[in-house]
């Protein structure tokens, strides 16, 4: 079952919203925005992180879209927009009118800005705090030790040492530590800070807990 | 040795790491203007004398095939010969040219070990060479020995040397470190007057030969004998500095360790007639009139830094062959051609080691297996 919404139109030329498949929330949908004549105005992946979506429990927050309109957005102000799954053509929602907001054009003029705009990686570990269900499922299916080892591999890029496995494993078994809290601890460690790594977004192929 | 056509000389890229050349292929004059190690400079001068206006390059290996190789061929023009100056770590060949190798700097242990590995890892490469200049190496290829013909090339003149620094040989009864410290503490001594001795032996030690039990034992035996022969002067050149043997203390330690480790018994008091030299002795040091100067070295010594005139003036030349026994015939041929006579003796050192080869100026009949 597909869910989604068109949140608004931005003056910089984008249409914003969210969409997901409830059966496979971590497999981003490719969506399109159509006008009432069925013409495609914009399309792209619904894979961006939004805190509000995380709070709402939608795909752990990773199902936003922000797609560039092929027509000037000023022309879309009083028009109905339909959100569809581009692959199947299935209509997800139709909205009229769609709120219009002024915003600034974003320009990426430094490497740091380009990296910050990279949606395939997490910008911070806290973008994973909506992933509790996913992480807990992993623990349930594979076991605590497997989870701790995978967390070390994911965050620190190395094999877990026996003492880490023992102490964190034991805390998790006592329910004194949640799966997400372990990820947060590891990413706040001196080891991670001295050698920071890129952490794959949960809806990307590189996320090991799927 | 070299056929018709021009020659390109390749030099170790590591030696040019701190300088820039105008390109991958350049004239030898450009190389000679650069700040390069002295032994490389002498090697280039030596082989350049064989060739008419040679070209130089550092990395022939990067022009592997196709357009890259055609580009190289355009740069090389009428070049038909390639002489690879190698420190033992790599031997470069250029497909289609007559390839020769000039190995030097094998006195550094790292290089001689690298050379040994290279012959073991890539004997087919070695087998392709038309000649090896001033070396006598062989490599096993299956059940046969491959040995490119050896050509001997010596300079007409040695070139300038820095003033030698002499130290008295002062072994301690306790340890190598103490011996080295004592030698340094005693300070430099003045240059020996060779005319005051009836015989002089010069033994240039290398980092490689210091780690050869055969050579070390011969060195130690010579030292012990010299103690009891005050009319005899023994001059021991310390190993040339490199990253392992960076300073005088280390040069001394390597040498004294070798002597100590040989197990040969000797007095532990200073010997006025046994001196250590920090660097190579210039040819002029040996003078022209002394009648009895001997030299002993092994395969790792860059003997080509001295002239044929010097070798022919010496009373005896002793050569300690490589322990693998390869190349003894070629050594005999090579040095016999330098000295103008066959070896006078092939002295057995031990069951496990090849025979020491000796050429003496006077003796013409062999004194075998002494």
């Amino acid at each position: 079952m597909l869910r989604g919404y068109v949140d608004g139109i931005a003056s910089s030329g984008y249409i914003e919203g969210w969409a997901l498949s409830l059966e496979a929330p971590l497999d981003p949908l490719t969506v399109a925005i159509l006008d009432d004549q069925g013409r495609e105005l914009a399309w792209g992946l619904a894979h961006l992180y939004r805190e509000d979506l995380s709070a709402a429990g939608f795909a752990a927050g990773w199902c936003g879209f922000y797609v560039r309109s092929s027509v000037p957005v000023s022309r879309l102000k009083q028009r109905a927009l339909t959100l569809v799954d581009r692959g199947s053509g299935t209509e997800i929602v139709r909205r009229y009118p769609v709120p219009y907001a002024q915003d600034q054009d974003t320009v990426l003029s430094t490497i740091a800005e380009i990296v910050a705009a990279d949606p395939t990686m997490t910008a911070s570990i806290y973008q994973l705090n909506g992933c509790d269900n996913i992480l807990s499922m992993y623990v349930k299916e594979r076991g605590v030790d497997a989870y701790v080892a995978t967390s070390y591999a994911y965050v620190l890029g190395r094999t877990v040492d026996p003492s880490g496995l023992a102490s964190y494993g034991s805390l998790m078994r006592e329910n004194s530590l949640t799966p997400f809290q372990l990820l947060a601890i590891l990413s706040n460690s001196e080891e991670f800070r001295s050698k920071p790594r890129l952490l794959a977004a949960p809806n990307s192929a590189g996320f090991p807990f799927r | 040795m070299l056929g018709s056509g021009r020659t390109v000389i390749s030099v170790p890229a590591f030696d040019l790491r701190n300088v820039d050349t105008t390109g991958s292929v350049f004239e030898v004059e450009e190389l000679q203007r650069l700040s390069i190690p002295e032994d490389l400079r002498r090697a280039v001068s030596l082989v350049s004398a064989l060739c008419k206006k040679p070209l130089c390059m550092t990395r022939p290996e990067i022009f592997t095939h196709g357009a890259a190789r055609r580009w190289l061929d355009d740069q090389l023009g009428s070049v038909r010969n390639h002489i690879c100056l190698s420190d033992g770590s790599a031997i470069k060949v250029i497909d289609g040219l007559a390839n020769h190798v000039f190995l030097f700097r094998l006195d550094h242990r790292r290089n001689s070990e690298a050379m040994g590995n290279l012959l073991s890892w890539a004997p087919e490469l070695f087998a392709q060479l038309r000649s090896q200049i001033n070396t006598f190496h062989g490599a096993r290829l299956g059940d046969r020995l491959v040995q490119p013909p050896s050509a001997v090339l010596l300079p007409k003149a040695r070139g300038p040397d820095s003033k030698p620094e002499f130290f008295k040989f002062s072994p301690s009864i306790h340890s190598t470190e103490e011996s080295a410290t004592r030698v340094m503490a005693n300070g430099q001594v003045s240059e020996p007057k060779l005319q005051e001795f009836s015989a002089v032996t010069y033994i240039p030690v290398t980092e490689h030969s210091a780690n050869d039990p055969t050579f070390s034992k011969l060195l130690a035996q010579t030292i012990a004998a010299t103690y009891f022969n005050p009319e005899h002067c023994l001059l021991i050149r310390l190993p040339r500095p490199n990253e392992n043997v960076a300073d005088l203390f280390q040069q001394l330690s390597v040498t004294l360790d070798a002597i100590r480790g040989s197990g040969v018994v000797m007095p532990r008091i200073p010997a006025p007639n046994i001196l250590l030299s920090r660097n190579d002795l210039p040819e002029s040091f040996f003078g022209v009139s002394h009648h009895h100067i001997d030299i002993m070295f092994d395969s790792s010594f860059d003997f080509w830094l001295y002239t044929q005139a010097l070798y022919r003036r010496l009373h005896a030349v002793s050569y300690v062959p490589a322990t693998d026994g390869h190349g003894v015939k070629a050594v005999i041929q090579g040095f016999s051609s330098i000295l103008g006579r066959p070896p006078a003796a092939r002295r057995k050192i031990s069951d496990a080691t090849p025979q020491l080869l000796q050429w003496t100026r006077r003796s013409t009949s062999a004194a075998r297996n002494k």
Binding site: L45, T120 | D20, A90, A122, P123, E124
Partner: protein
Amino acid sequence: MTAKPKLTLDIGPMLDDQWTGIPVFTSRLAQCLIRHEGIDVEFSVQLTRIPKALVLSAINAGSGTMLRADLERASLNGYELVDRYAPMLFATAKNACTIGQREASTVHDLSTLVMPEVHEDANVMHHMRHFKQDLATDEVVFCVSESTRSALKLHYPSVAGKARTLYQYVEWPESYAAIERNLPELKLGRYALVVGTLEPRKNLGLLIRALSRPEVRRSGIRFIVMGKKGWKVDDVLAELAPEDASRIIFSGFVSEFVKYRLMRNAEFLVYPSIYEGFGIPALEAMSLGKPVLASMTSSFPEIIGDAGVFFDPLSITEFAAAFTEMAQKRRQAELAPKALAVARAFNWQRMAAPVVEWVTR
């Protein structure tokens, strides 16, 4: 139905955390052999069979960290051994295997033999100590380029008859184009992307020295170097005038997607390395329609073909002249379609073919 011929592929290089060079090659080899319907490929590390699911996860992740962690955990329970009667292909050196009845290994380059000074001694020893034996006991020796094959035949003539070329390919995830089209544009000005470090072989020093050449200054083109700055770079840059040094930027370690973006928006790729076995960044750039400014050495002319401008990597004059040519938009426009055409010739079918030919003979 006749059973498909089997092949075991050793994927040891894929255990690395961050994939460059050889691990990427191994991953592509694994993928193309999985796709090929003519053989049944299994995977191993050190003669131990690895479940396909774990291999696919590593391929998807683009990293071997999880695979390594899984192997460590599973090693306590034990994995099965490989089928020694099936042909065994090693994606790099096999290091004296001779367990299999039919073995093949892959030679990426001969740098540890021909330029050992650019490697640590331990690395030279690791690569070379079993190399001759590997070649002797391989039924086929795969070389990642004709350049490597030529060098191998020159140094080991006895292997000439069994040396084959095995070209890899580039495939960007399909989603990248879809992602990029909706992201804000890059406004970095004119820039070329650069592959290199200060190591002598990678030859970034040549580009840095060229920054103060008038023709490079005049172009208005900046240089973005993929990867971390590395030690000593600041010392070298300090020798330049500040306005010259400011024209070179280091990206740091970035994701595959950011690399894709930087490559796609660059005018061309600069690859001053003096020697490569294949040079996958060149193919990556060409697959995005970018021509390559590269050294006239080793595999570059072979892989880049007529989509590049070449120079002597030890000549700053030649580099400056080649750069001047490539800096012209008109020249880039001529080369861009050639870059795409050249890249298309490298595909998964072409990579799988020589392996399948060996397995099925």
